[in-house]
């Protein structure tokens, strides 16, 4: 798939028409938040539903873009049942008291064919800075220059201990790698 920034560089009439901040809504059924962390010699993988995503993208002025995503911790699934229960329990994400994870961008910079998204992530009520790498594509079935339906892939990592999610530190890795695949559609 052609990278969107590259497509924008072609400055087709369609992209010129969207050279202002554009709001997008998440397509939940087509989106997923994947994560993985080390478990001894293996990996624990899983998915977490997106409760809400507000995205405003400005392809002419990337720094004017804004991303806010809320994840549903209680709906998280992992590659084996104990991992999901451990992750949602009080020693890790404590989903009973903190049912959501929130990320809100504070700055977006163009980086190669994609963007670097700086923001603040709140896990277990603790907020820290986080940087994610973003790549954009138009969705299948949409012609070049049609920005009505996009796919965004956001990748990044957090150290769970920074947020007090320290359970099973002797068994499970500290770094949690995130791979968010969001499919969005233009709302204005």
């Amino acid at each position: 798939m052609r990278a969107l920034i590259l497509m924008l560089a072609l400055a087709s009439p369609a992209t010129t028409a969207t050279a202002t901040p554009t709001s997008y809504a998440l397509q939940p059924a087509l989106s997923s938040v994947g994560f993985e962390t080390d478990f001894g010699p293996d990996l624990i993988t899983g998915r977490m539903p997106v409760t809400r995503a507000d995205l405003t993208l400005d392809f002419a002025n990337v720094s004017a873009s804004h991303v806010a995503v809320t994840l549903n911790v209680q709906g998280a699934e992992a590659s084996f049942p104990f991992a999901a229960q451990a992750m949602k329990g009080p020693k890790v994400l404590d989903s009973a008291d903190y049912p959501e994870i929130r990320f809100e961008s504070t700055a977006v910079h163009k980086a190669g064919d994609g963007a670097t998204v700086e923001g603040r992530v709140t896990i277990r009520g603790v907020t820290h800075n986080m940087v994610m790498q973003a790549a954009f594509w138009r969705q299948k079935g949409h012609e070049a220059g049609d920005l009505s339906h996009l796919t965004i892939r956001l990748t990044g990592a957090v150290n769970r201990s920074d947020f007090g999610a320290t359970g099973w530190a002797d068994m499970v890795g500290d770094q949690v790698r995130l791979d968010i695949l969001a499919r969005i559609e233009r709302t204005n």
Binding site: F39, G40, P41, D42, F80, F82, Q85, A86, G89, P90, K91, G167, M171
Partner: protein
């Protein structure tokens, strides 16, 4: 045949004794292994096996205690006030207490971790402790400490049985065959 008599062990008591002996040695080996391996997907099932065997051991211990209320086992061979018999009775009592306390402490610690305590792959035991790091840490510390105490007592128990076996006083034969050779 099944019931105990004043001078002989019944079949049920002997079956419980030797089944539990095998089970306890399997549990000690498995527990020691679990304490020294890096957990991973390949060995995760061993934790479930340890819980399952531990629950069986706890159940058999309770069955044995109830059975001995209904059908009391014979007293140790020899004078009741002899030092060896007093030591044997104290060792047996301590082993029974540990066979109750060790699985219970493991159950408490596991429940306090916030994870389901699952046996036989799909049966979830009730959570008998609040989700609490203090309960979990104390439970696992006790589990390890009491297990070491059990190992020491089992060494004493086996050594005592071996000594009696060397003296041919009939104790070992009675636990294997039910009665002494002179019965």
């Amino acid at each position: 045949m099944w019931r105990n008599a004043p001078t002989r062990f019944g079949l049920l008591t002997r079956a419980l004794h030797w089944t539990m002996a095998l089970l306890i040695f399997a549990l000690l080996a498995l527990g020691t292994t679990l304490a020294n391996i890096q957990p991973g997907l390949a060995n995760l099932w061993l934790y479930g096996l340890h819980k399952t065997l531990g629950f069986i051991a706890l159940s058999l211990c309770l069955i044995r205690l109830i059975w001995h209320r209904y059908s009391p086992p014979p007293p140790p061979i020899g004078p009741a006030r002899a030092l060896t018999n007093r030591l044997a009775r104290a060792t047996h009592t301590a082993i029974y207490l540990l066979l109750l306390a060790i699985p219970l402490s493991g159950w408490v610690a596991s429940a306090a971790s916030g994870l389901d305590v699952v046996i036989f792959g799909h049966i979830t035991l009730p959570a008998i402790a609040p989700v609490s790091t203090a309960w979990e840490d104390t439970g696992f510390a006790l589990h390890g400490l009491l297990t070491k105490a059990l190992m020491a007592l089992l060494v004493a128990h086996i050594a005592g049985a071996a000594l009696r076996g060397l003296k041919h006083d009939g104790t070992l034969r009675r636990m294997i065959h039910g009665s002494t050779s002179t019965d």
